[in-house]
Symmetry: C2
Subunit: 245 residues, 2 copies
């Protein structure tokens, strides 16, 4: 029986779009959105990431958590390049703690969260939904500029100007209903996120984090993402369910 | 010999990404960016629009104007729906003048310009470019919220927070170099844009505007886009090179 740490806001019958990558953070974000009473529509972007094992993980998480719908949108970011996650640049391994924070890594995908949240907003408009959920947080920041709260605040204002819903000029949309981008994990570290996931009944064994998995999807144990994940399980004091190569 | 109406700013050797749809506006925007001295990289989004004839038009325009590069990025917006341009909803025909402005039409694609400019920024980051060009203007606005200047201003601020370049924290990027989203057509009507295109030597016969073309690409003459285009040529006093069905 999960223990709910926060009161559940009244959002009955409100629909939300949740960006679901297949990693721990987005899975826990989805569970929180559901706990808060949102009818959740998961959106996964197949951007031809080298760790495409996360796409299968996203589908498994969406099933386990019984999303109202799950869309996979194809966007071939290999065409623009610029990241170790979509290109041939090697994924760095076993970087020391000091390098995991404060620098933008080669795994940065140019403007990724901006692009993904923009797509989520477009999808939400078709559902008459004004709430988006994204699992950004301080630990995953690790130097990614588009994981900062000030980016989210700015984008919310931009969405209100960019969309039919924000301007309220369209048929079927309440006038000027503003967007909300929910970032329920933003102040949590990985151990806290993992603990929250367990409380909410998320099967974290279904999630995938590794940037450079073996062909069968087993985690490499040495990339930034594996290091942060393993440390999170250790600090949370729970067994790491990750399948390592 | 074209007559240049504006002085050419000094942008020698600066690279820019130009969103190139294959329509008149983006073609003229590209020509203006080149006149201003930018080394231009065209980006076309194949969003599975029903008027995919514009993809071939974009390629032809990019060749004619000798872009430094031309990328076509695949993004299947049919998956999220919500627009007559990507779905089965009929494209409206022969709408009266009063309806062409001031309402958001069914051809609105949710958050399209936000998504496309976000992708352009991602591409620009890989080129170390900080300038984007997009051919939005008051006539094409026709009720599209994401064609308004206040949207562009807001997005510029968001880009500065979202990207490696804007924050200046990445290797090889000057600290804090801000983004500029150029909208050189924003104050021009369609006739003025067409006149500008002729001055700059753009072969407008290569462009495609129709939302609902015949299988061979010939224009329908009756959709909003055809109506605005035909009126533009008439008002500009130049022969309409459009191939109609």
């Amino acid at each position: 029986m999960p223990i709910y740490l926060r009161p559940m806001p009244a959002h009955a019958e409100k629909h939300a779009v949740v960006l679901l990558s297949g990693g721990i953070d987005s899975a826990v974000t989805l569970a929180i959105a559901q706990q808060w009473g949102f009818v959740c529509h998961a959106l996964t972007i197949d951007y031809r990431q080298r760790h495409h094992a996360e796409l299968a993980a996203a589908a498994a998480v969406a099933r386990q958590l019984r999303c109202a719908s799950h869309k996979v949108l194809a966007l071939d970011l290999r065409a623009i390049g610029g990241s170790a996650l979509t290109g041939e640049t090697p994924v760095p391994k076993d970087r020391p703690e000091a390098q995991l924070a404060g620098h933008i890594p080669v795994t940065y995908v140019p403007a990724r969260n901006l692009v993904f949240l923009s797509l989520a907003a477009g999808f939400a408009e078709t559902l008459d939904a004004a709430d988006l959920f994204v699992g950004i947080n301080a630990v995953d920041y690790s130097g990614y500029p588009d994981c900062r709260p000030e980016f989210i605040t700015s984008l919310t204002g931009t969405l209100n100007l960019a969309t039919r819903q924000g301007t309220g000029a369209g048929p079927g949309s309440p006038a000027g209903r503003p967007w909300t981008i929910h970032t329920p994990l933003v102040a949590l570290n990985k151990a806290q996120i993992i603990a929250r996931g367990y409380e909410l009944g998320v099967n974290l064994a279904l999630t995938h984090s590794c940037y450079d998995p073996a062909p069968g999807g087993a985690a490499c144990r040495h990339c930034d993402s594996c290091l942060i994940r393993a440390r999170g399980f250790a600090q949370a004091g729970v067994a790491d369910p990750t399948r390592y190569a």
